[in-house]
Symmetry: D2
Subunit: 313 residues, 4 copies
Amino acid sequence: MNSQPDQLERVVREIADEMAQRTDRGEVATYIPELANVDPGAFGLAVIDAEGNVAVGGDADMPFSIQSISKVFTLTLALGLVGDNLWRRVGREPSGTAFNSIVQLERENGIPRNPFINAGAIAVTDVILSGHQPREALGEILRFMRFVADDPSIKIDEAVAASEQRTGFRNIALANYMKAFGVLQNPVDFTLGVYFHHCAIAMSCRQLAMAARFLVHNGRNPSTGLLVVQPERARRINAIMLTCGHYDGSGEFAYRVGLPGKSGVGGGILAIAPGKASIAVWSPGLDASGNSRLGRIALEALTKRMGWSVFGE
Amino acid sequence: MNSQPDQLERVVREIADEMAQRTDRGEVATYIPELANVDPGAFGLAVIDAEGNVAVGGDADMPFSIQSISKVFTLTLALGLVGDNLWRRVGREPSGTAFNSIVQLERENGIPRNPFINAGAIAVTDVILSGHQPREALGEILRFMRFVADDPSIKIDEAVAASEQRTGFRNIALANYMKAFGVLQNPVDFTLGVYFHHCAIAMSCRQLAMAARFLVHNGRNPSTGLLVVQPERARRINAIMLTCGHYDGSGEFAYRVGLPGKSGVGGGILAIAPGKASIAVWSPGLDASGNSRLGRIALEALTKRMGWSVFGE
Amino acid sequence: MNSQPDQLERVVREIADEMAQRTDRGEVATYIPELANVDPGAFGLAVIDAEGNVAVGGDADMPFSIQSISKVFTLTLALGLVGDNLWRRVGREPSGTAFNSIVQLERENGIPRNPFINAGAIAVTDVILSGHQPREALGEILRFMRFVADDPSIKIDEAVAASEQRTGFRNIALANYMKAFGVLQNPVDFTLGVYFHHCAIAMSCRQLAMAARFLVHNGRNPSTGLLVVQPERARRINAIMLTCGHYDGSGEFAYRVGLPGKSGVGGGILAIAPGKASIAVWSPGLDASGNSRLGRIALEALTKRMGWSVFGE
Amino acid sequence: MNSQPDQLERVVREIADEMAQRTDRGEVATYIPELANVDPGAFGLAVIDAEGNVAVGGDADMPFSIQSISKVFTLTLALGLVGDNLWRRVGREPSGTAFNSIVQLERENGIPRNPFINAGAIAVTDVILSGHQPREALGEILRFMRFVADDPSIKIDEAVAASEQRTGFRNIALANYMKAFGVLQNPVDFTLGVYFHHCAIAMSCRQLAMAARFLVHNGRNPSTGLLVVQPERARRINAIMLTCGHYDGSGEFAYRVGLPGKSGVGGGILAIAPGKASIAVWSPGLDASGNSRLGRIALEALTKRMGWSVFGE
């Protein structure tokens, strides 16, 4: 009798159809050469509701480079490892600047504003690395992704990682800058190696939506019933996604979509409707703030039609 | 049989008791001389839930200077007057800087980052003024406050307005700076006069919680059933409160409290649990970001105990 | 037998002729409406050498608005009044930013970087005002100008002063901003009134070159033999002119002309060849940094042909 | 009969004696670990006048790490190699910020403000490297230093170079940041390797004063009569030294000393009195701007007593 799964399926299908027809797709990122090869016409959407119903549309099973969306999972992992001590190395305020800005670091003694700008995610990666070999730290991150997504097939795209490692001069600059302030504790090359590799994880919308279910359910994996993080931490990760998840477009995303979310330069966006749904969308064309153009539009349509905004139905 | 009103009353009472015992109250703002005269030991809390139940604690009926909380209502009023044209004169991104920063204006052609930093609220006031006499514009703002609060007794504290007008050099600087970029359209003195006066509105926690009910109910006043703003606008005002409502402490407030909110330098904070409650708290001592110290702590306790965070129960 | 006066006269004539033929004259400043009325084809040059020989070319006797060149004389006057205490209120480093930037003030507690950016000159004006009535302070500045120029006919152009007072919103912003930090001690209106008026002094190239002779002769007026300022102060004023005299084009001026100089938005430039000559040039069209385009080119030619650069013959 | 050499010798001796007695010596730089081992009590002074007379005092023959003073010579060399094309890769305005600031680069597309801040000198080094092997480029720089100083014994202190290479995270950040903007054209490691090594050149005051004679004589080596650079270039290098030679203390140096100069974090300062003298001073303790404290004081005394300020006798 419950018509909600039907409604969800219908809405997801409608949105996928609408997006297939749009031509205003933004520009595919070229600053990581390997990413430029992607099909600009691709669009995928996957939604898993609170009861576990899965609705998918478009290229929901095509893997893409999750890039900065990995920062949600490395933040979760680092909080599990060192708890609130993490906040000595990174802040949790919106930055008011672009994703790769270095200005804020100079003003604030090398402490990045939040874990979702590049500098902040590099600092979080350094916390995870914590004296281990890069290979071990990367293994731990990958195992965690496979565990929360319940999918052992998730892999790193080595070509993307290598491409970024060759050309990621801004990130090398950010890391060395933080090292100069003592904010990074491992060799810069080690930390960056792990960072470039976890950004190069390839996942489909379906896999991403699966992986993030614990943020919908107060930190608990709804299949196994196990706690991935403490409930309070899950809420707080959602809070940081809402205020900081889209660089200098975070206010705009909150204003239009009304959900915690995290975008990646590969065109993916992960969004969480707390207590209601885990959502992943992908379209490679980006807007001026570096967020997926159609991805944001699709999410705006979805939350509106489902009444999922955290700011009112 | 419904125990929720009882639970709410109990929680509000507990929190008021706990706050009465705390001695770490922060510093009362002194930059507006008239505000420095307030009792630093005061604490008030008022909550109105979705059913209209009212729970109060402490000095919930003592009027205080709402200061920047007025910006929520002038934003609402301006959106009603000019709609989305408002966004040509002010942005909606977190600023990453202090409430009275002028740096961002220089970098961005005099367009303030959002309507809740001082510059942005002055620009919004200029939109409301829009060629009228200051007295008329101020009358309209005051009528709107009385209307949404359903309370004709709300007044402006003229001594506070005069105090600010004599000493508000930073705000005079911000306004003239925007005027230089053509962002303000009325005489600077007119706009600032209205701004200083609406910041000097005096209200109690109970009055404030009443006034903001429309943000809980998708734009509708639950008593009269009338729409104050379109549902979508109400959600969006909540979104801006969450990302920008606490200056450079907005991320921290989202992280700890998990509700849209707006603080004022008079020590008040207004918070909205969409669909659930309108909340006003007041304690004059401020933290380093200029937000009420006990107010934030009380709200953190309240949302935790009531399970009201928008980021998960 | 001394051919130098002849050489100087010839060089000045040549340069005036060359400038008359150039068509790349830059843009006349329009931000002070009254200044926009000036003839863009005007060009004047006056040079007074160490022996007192005067060589003039073009419109050397046509008065123009000296604008920021007045800052050299108010600095001299303020140093005479309060000595090195002046440096508590203003710095003496190049700003690295535009003439009317407010960013630096926020970063450095309202202390302007040097006396030749607008904020710094307003602070210097506040020192001269020092509790007196604006009319008295302005009288003192005007008397000083007439004294050093040995010319009682020098006047303020009231129309320009009024124009600036109506539209100088950035300067009003700068002054209020400094007032907020306690850097200004007089009522903001008083200080700005005096500032706008001394910027509106009208002088010809000949008058300006006369007025600045004391900077050529280690502080001494060569006609009367009287000290205008201590020798060390004269050298130091020259030093500040060289490092800070042209806003964000100071390095370029030093690089090309090689003399201490101060430009004004009215198109005038005053330059000093220590021990050798006092030079004033005027052409209303400005370059991107707000300095007279032909003025700078004429000075480059003059110092090259006369071998007057302080950095080598 | 000419008593000037005697006067110069006397003044140099007096100053060396006065400096030996001072205890306010500033702090020795510790950010390059190897530099921290130097004797904080050392002081050397060497002056070569226009006639070639040499006057020395204190530890004038003790080699020290010239650090940023090398930037004067790499600038000269790069101008010789590519002429004014150099100015496409680096500006020539004072920066208004610290020597290792990265903020300005973000604002200005990776183009450093001038060749004397670290970023600018790294860009100049990249121009000299220009496709060659680091070893060759470094050889060319060292040959140039030996040539202008007329001293084949000048060497690089490999321990200092290695120390900087291990710990120079800020410079690595600056270089990668410029690389991201395409301002550097060689592999970052190559450019930085050459940069760290030429900063590690060790020279005595006497050697430095010898090396810089061409800047006193309009680009000509007074011994050989050969042109090292065109006269105009020599003047312009002096101009940049005056406006930019001391980072955020450039205005102060011009104000107090009144000569083109360039300081190094090793405690050396090179100063030029055009047409009059080449001067090198060394004392390892630094002031807050990173310039030699006693070095600046000694130069102030020297120019005052000799009447050498470019701003008047």
